[in-house]
């Protein structure tokens, strides 16, 4: 049960016990899967050209959480990533910076140093990312460690095992505890790993659960499983944040992550945001792309618009 005066206060009765929470989540309207996918697909057919495209590309660059989450990450690689986030295209100073770099907790200090003074934030995954299979104490230690190292944002994973076995309150309380560990300095992104939740109904439930527990952002996936962000599951989450704000007045951000590689894809997501959640979300405070290779494609498209010639991978960094 949330004890602080959190934004989730209106739901205090809902989160009071396991059974009330279950009743609420299972009382959410079912998702029309065919309709959802058709809607996402039809919004993906919008043609965005010329000045609108230029705007969309710059907006998308400013929304990228430039990510490296490999076992083989080195301080050198993180520094290179930080330099790229601060100056995505060194040949064109008008290119916006990315929103953040996203690294493992032990790389936060290095990343912080690398982006110092650029306005780029440092996000850190935590809570035994990506599986989340660890004791709560370990997860919280992971979070505190990242926050102490200076992380501006924490990307936590929910306990999918608990969620799928119906132990919603455990998932809820864990998010509340992590939120508390983030304190006031770090924003909390909650990763659902939609690819493991199996149904759209579950994604809707997870979205509400996360928001009621005080998430600042809800995020599709870790990027470590076969199915990552899709237009359909992102659309569903955008509907959830829209409805949540309508009900509580609290705005929550959305971050699709994994599998978004091309400018075309990114622009499709921006259309989804604009048409579903609305213009208020068209800002990197409220919408992010978790991606690594996407940035290169955005930069190549930006160069194409600027010069009229198609660019190539020789003109962006290899990372």
């Amino acid at each position: 049960m949330p004890t602080t005066a959190s934004p989730a206060q209106p739901f205090a009765d809902v989160t009071a016990s396991d059974s009330t929470l279950r009743r609420f989540l299972h009382g959410l309207p079912g998702v029309d899967a065919v309709g959802l996918e058709a809607r996402a697909a039809s919004l993906g057919t919008r043609s965005i050209k010329t000045t609108a495209k230029a705007y969309a590309i710059d907006l998308a660059i400013s929304m990228v959480d430039l990510t490296t989450l490999e076992g083989a990450d080195t301080p050198g690689k993180v520094r290179a990533l930080g330099a790229k986030a601060a100056h995505p295209d060194p040949t064109d100073r008008t290119t916006p910076t990315t929103a953040a770099v996203c690294v493992y907790p032990d790389m936060v200090a290095t990343a912080k140093e690398a982006v110092a003074g650029s306005g780029v934030k440092v996000a850190s995954v935590a809570t035994a990312f990506p599986a989340g299979r660890a004791a709560l104490a370990v997860k919280l230690a992971d979070v505190r460690d990242a926050v102490a190292a200076g992380a501006d944002e924490i990307d936590m994973v929910i306990d999918r095992g608990a969620f799928l076995s119906g132990d919603y309150l455990k998932v809820h309380d864990e998010i509340v505890a992590v939120k508390e560990a983030c304190g006031t300095s770090a924003r909390l992104k909650v990763i659902f790993e939609t690819g493991e939740l199996s149904t759209y109904d579950n994604i809707r439930r997870a979205s509400w659960l996360g928001m009621m527990a005080g998430a600042d952002f809800i995020k599709t996936s870790t990027g470590k499983v076969a199915v990552n962000a899709t237009p359909a599951n992102t659309l569903l989450m955008l509907e959830a944040v829209r409805d949540f704000r309508a009900q509580t007045g609290v705005q929550v951000g959305v971050k699709p992550a994994g599998g978004i590689r091309t400018t075309k894809d990114a622009i499709k997501f921006l259309v989804l945001v604009n048409e579903t959640a609305g213009e208020d979300w068209l800002d990197n405070h409220w919408f992010r792309f978790g991606a690594s290779s996407l940035l290169n494609d955005l930069l190549m498209q930006r160069q194409k618009l600027a010069t009229g010639r198609y660019s190539g991978p020789d003109y962006v960094t290899v990372d």
């Binding site: 009229g308 010639r309 198609y310 660019s311 190539g312 991978p313 020789d314 003109y315």
Partner: protein, 300 residues
């Protein structure tokens, strides 16, 4: 029910000619087609009219295929190209008909053209593992070094297929480009694109990996201009460009220092020589100590 009165005329089954990009057969992204006629002006088929976005997609496909194709052993590339000749032989009748229609040749003349084209594939297939000995080798240098030069493919090559020779000319410009390990984006002859589009079907059913050859049809100038300016295209063969277009494309190609092969009069029936093979090769030279370097005279 006598046979005569019941004889139903078969409905014609027309072939939809499509592009060949990345091992698949897409329509043009623009949805456009244009009418292709034979040499007398009779309608033959509708061919896709590619846009610059098709060109862009083709370059992406060619770039993706480059690593695998250039990394394959020369011996393997030779086998794959020979396989193409085998597949062409099986479709000989179709190509004879298409070439006869496209170029207004008699059946026997067209057959001679197709045979020459198939032989041309075989000829280039044989060159894949021999060209390195011809243009590479050990260079004498003034020091205790081995100095070895070996040819490497240039990369993605845009090829403007000859306009007048729709099949033999096409084969004569495409085969040398891919024989050495380059990948190609081919713009078919604007007036006679059908043999080139059918060649795509042959390549798809031989062992050539998707993306190694990509065939686009349409207005040559419209497709060639973005290709010449494309920063991820390493070379361009202007065989099918007229003088004005060739000049324009060469200027555009200068921006990222593409290799440019200017149009030149060619007798496609003659033995081609290695010029087109070497046009799209770079030379890599390595130095290596011979071993007699140590002060004590030791080899290490």
């Amino acid at each position: 029910m006598s046979e005569k009165s019941e004889k139903i005329e078969r409905l014609s089954v027309f072939k939809t000619y499509k592009l060949y990009v990345g091992g698949k057969f897409p329509r043009s992204e623009s949805g456009r087609v244009y009418e292709v006629t034979d040499s007398k002006g009779n309608w033959l088929a509708n061919a896709p009219q590619s846009s610059r976005k098709d060109a862009r997609d083709a370059v992406v496909a060619a770039r993706k295929a480059f690593g695998g194709w250039s990394g394959a052993t020369a011996y393997n590339r030779g086998q794959v190209l020979y396989r193409v000749a085998e597949m062409l032989e099986g479709r000989r009748e179709q190509f004879v008909r298409e070439v006869a229609d496209a170029e207004g040749l008699s059946k026997s003349k067209a057959a001679a053209v197709v045979d020459a084209a198939i032989d041309r594939w075989v000829w280039y297939a044989g060159w894949t593992d021999k060209i390195a000995q011809v243009v590479g080798g050990a260079n004498p240098v003034a020091g205790p070094f081995f100095n070895l030069s070996s040819p490497e493919p240039t990369g993605v090559v845009a090829v403007l297929a000859p306009r007048e020779s729709s099949f033999l000319g096409l084969v004569s410009v495409v085969a040398p480009v891919i024989a050495t390990g380059n990948t190609a984006v081919v713009i078919a002859s604007e007036e006679a694109p059908l043999p080139a589009l059918s060649l795509g079907e042959v390549l798809a059913t031989s062992d050539v990996p998707g993306g190694v050859v990509n065939v686009l049809s349409g207005r040559t100038a419209e497709i060639a201009t973005p290709l010449a300016a494309h920063q991820d295209v390493n070379a361009i063969d202007l065989a099918g460009a007229d003088e004005a277009l060739a000049k324009e494309l060469e200027i555009a190609a200068a921006d990222n220092l593409k290799r440019v092969l200017r149009p030149q009069p060619v007798d496609y029936f003659g033995t081609p020589g290695t010029d087109r093979l070497t046009a799209f090769l770079e030379t890599k030279t390595v130095w290596h100590p011979t071993g007699s370097l140590g002060a004590s005279g030791s080899s290490y």
